[in-house]
Symmetry: C2
Subunit: 232 residues, 2 copies
Amino acid sequence: MARLPLYLRALSALSERGVPTVSSEELAAAAGVNSAKLRKDLSYLGSYGTRGVGYDVEYLVYQISRELGLTQDWPVAIIGIGNLGHALANYGGFASRGFRVAALLDADRAVAGQRIAGMVVRHMDDLEQIVRDDHVSIGVITTPAPAAQGVCDRLVAAGITSILNFAPTVLSVPEGVDVRKVDLSIELQILAFHEQRKSAVDPAAPDLPAAAQPAASPAGGPAGDLPEVMPA
Amino acid sequence: MARLPLYLRALSALSERGVPTVSSEELAAAAGVNSAKLRKDLSYLGSYGTRGVGYDVEYLVYQISRELGLTQDWPVAIIGIGNLGHALANYGGFASRGFRVAALLDADRAVAGQRIAGMVVRHMDDLEQIVRDDHVSIGVITTPAPAAQGVCDRLVAAGITSILNFAPTVLSVPEGVDVRKVDLSIELQILAFHEQRKSAVDPAAPDLPAAAQPAASPAGGPAGDLPEVMPA
DNA sequence: TAATGTGAAGCTTTTCACAGCC
DNA sequence: GGCTGTGAAAAGCTTCACATTA
C-alpha cells in the first residue's frame, strides 16, 4: 500500500519525540489522511493496535518497516550524473531508510572519474558488472529523456526489476519490472491547472490583478519540445 | 485531470515529428494508458476528435495547453537552494511549458548573493517583496524538513496558493491553497516493497542469492529519523 | 469502414457507523 | 469510556461495448 511510507514517516517523528502510543485519529492527522482509512490500511498488516488505547509507536514502526522491506539493505544505482543525479547522490534522505547509493554512472567519459558524494562516477560500460558485483536492486534514471529507454533496457537486461524514472518519458518494460516515475514538470502543470481554476472562479483576484482571467490566446500555441531532465 | 500533462507530452512528441493526426489507440499507447480511458478524459474537454479519423495533433495540443493554463506565464520561486534547489534552478524542463523560475531564495546569508543559473540568490527576508513584485504564483519548497512549514506559512501569507513541496513533511495549509508533494524516499520505499514481494514469491531468485528471502530480523528495528531534503 | 463519444457494467477505494474489545 | 477492526454503503474510477458519425 502506497501510504505506508507516509505513516512510517509520521511514526518515526513520534518515536523521536518519545511518544509511546498513538491513536488512529492522531496518526491520521499527522500523516494527512482520514482516520478510518488509516485503520483500514493498518488492519491489512494485522491487528497491531489495542482497542481503547491506540497503537504502540515503536512496534508499529517495526511492523511497517518489515512490511515495506526496509529491514534489509537496498543498493541503488543512479544513472545520469547531471544536476539532478548530482543532487540525488548527495541526498541524505535515502540512507536513513535502508537505501544505499551503491554506484553512480554516466555515459560521458568526462563525467566518469569525477568524485561526487565521496564516490567515483563510473562509466556506463561497467553497468552490467556493477549491478552484478554490488547486487544493485533498484536503478534510478536521471538521464536526458532520449537516453532513458536505452538505459532502462540495459538495466532490465542486467537483471534489475525496479526502476525510478526521472526522465520525462514513458518507459516500456517487460512484465515483472516495476517502474515509478517522478516528473517535476507534470507536478507544476497540475498546480497551474488548479491555480488557473481559482482565478477563473474567484471574481476578486487576491492581490495580483495582472494574473487574473486566462486570456483566450491565439491558436497554434507553444510548439513545446520534450523537456529534458538535465539541460546538458 | 492529472493525466492531461501526460497526453500533452506524447502529443508534443508527435507534433515535433510532424504527425498530423492520431487515433485514441496510438496516443494511448504513447502515453501508457488504455484507449477508452484516454477517450473519456478527452471527452471532458469537449469533442475535439473526428470519428473515423482521430484527433488533430496540433489542435489537441492547443486545447490541452489551454485547459491546463499553459498559455499563460507562471513565475515560480524556489525556496531552499541546497542540492535539490540548485538542480531545479538549472532544470530545463520548466521553461518549456510556461514555467519561469522568477526567483531563488535561501535563509542562509552565505548562499544568498551567489549566482546560480544566471540568477542571484535572494535572502528569505525579501520573500514577500519578491512575490509581490514578480507576481510569483507558485512556490517550490526545497528546504530541509524542519524549515518547510515555516516557509510554507510565509508563502501563504504572501498570497501564494500553489505549492510544490519536496521536503518530507506534511504541510498544513488553509483551505484554498493547493499543495503537491514529491518525496523521493517514498518512491523508493514503494519500489522496495514490490521488490521484496517479488523475491518472496518467486522461488528461483534471478541471479543474486544474497538478496533472497527477507530474513525475519530481530525486533526494535531502525530508530529512523526524518530524512531531510538536503543534508546540511 | 474506421474510430470517436458515451451509457452501463465492473472494479477499486473511501467513508460511514458500529460491534467488539481493552 | 475510548478506540480499534471491519462489514456495508457510498463514491470514484476504469473498462467494456456499441450506437453514432465523418
